[in-house]
Amino acid sequence: MRFLVAVDGSRQSEQTIEYAVELAEATGASVTLVYAVDPEVYSEGGMEPISSLSDADQRLIIEDIEDAERRAEDVLDEAVRIAENLGVEVETETIYGDPVVSIPSFAESEGYDNLFVGHQGRSERTERVIGSVAKGIVERSSIPVTVVR
């Protein structure tokens, strides 16, 4: 058995790692932690200088792809530490694209047996607007997904 755990540096993802690691120990499965760098979010820069407040508002949130990759490294390093504290060796993978799409497709193409994802406790109303990564992954995954809260 090979487990794939989606991590994003949140408290939920920490719990998900702990959960998956515990289950992996009980079943003899291997664990891989995956982080999705989402370039779309970070590549909306414009060529023109900032000329209005709304421009600034839109463009100052831009993060360089290298920053995003560094953040991926930080999140994965921390995730590995969490797993190692539980005495388990894990592998890491960095992939690119919207996590809702890239994670299930990575899990499928790499032949993982089970995908683990944390679920944030947002209100129903908030989720209707901004959605939920966990729900999106469940919707798209062809392999079993365990949603951990």
Partner: protein, 143 residues
């Protein structure tokens, strides 16, 4: 790790896959397998002809649940709890988890009705969103 695994079922192909997975886990962890069918009070309704529909759904639920029990027994699961409940499905599932201290809920991603085949079944979606217990979702192999 798992002592009590719940697999709610609606008898759909996808739920059958969920049952397979739940039975596999129950065997591996020597856990009790709980299964139940919920007669949806919102669907069967109390209005016109409700009682007849209700009875039929309950009978169907018993058939579906019996099928799960047989499969679990064949696989060698020792402790099996099966029932047919009445209520709003996702709420019944959450209540059941609390009452029986369930460690894991296993559910299919697709519901029974045609519309839901393209989306995550609404019951599964609600459970994923509101459950404190981990939810393992299983989909049908893509055609």
């Amino acid at each position: 790790m798992y002592d009590d695994i719940l697999v709610p079922t609606d008898g759909s192909d996808c739920a059958r896959r969920a049952v397979e997975e739940a039975v596999r886990l129950a065997t591996a962890f020597d856990a009790a397998l709980h299964t139940f069918y919920v007669v949806d009070t919102e669907l069967s309704g109390a209005e016109g002809g409700g009682a007849v529909v209700f009875d039929e759904l309950e009978a169907e639920g018993e058939r579906i649940v019996r099928d799960v029990v047989e499969r679990a027994e064949d696989a060698g699961v020792d402790t099996i709890e099966a029932s047919v409940a009445t209520g709003v499905p996702y709420r019944s599932i959450l209540d059941y988890c609390e009452e029986y201290d369930v460690d894991l809920v296993v559910m299919g991603t697709h519901g029974r009705t045609g519309l839901e085949r393209t989306l995550v079944g609404s019951v599964t979606e609600k459970v994923v969103r509101t459950s404190d217990v981990p939810v393992l979702t299983v989909s049908l192999p893509s055609e």
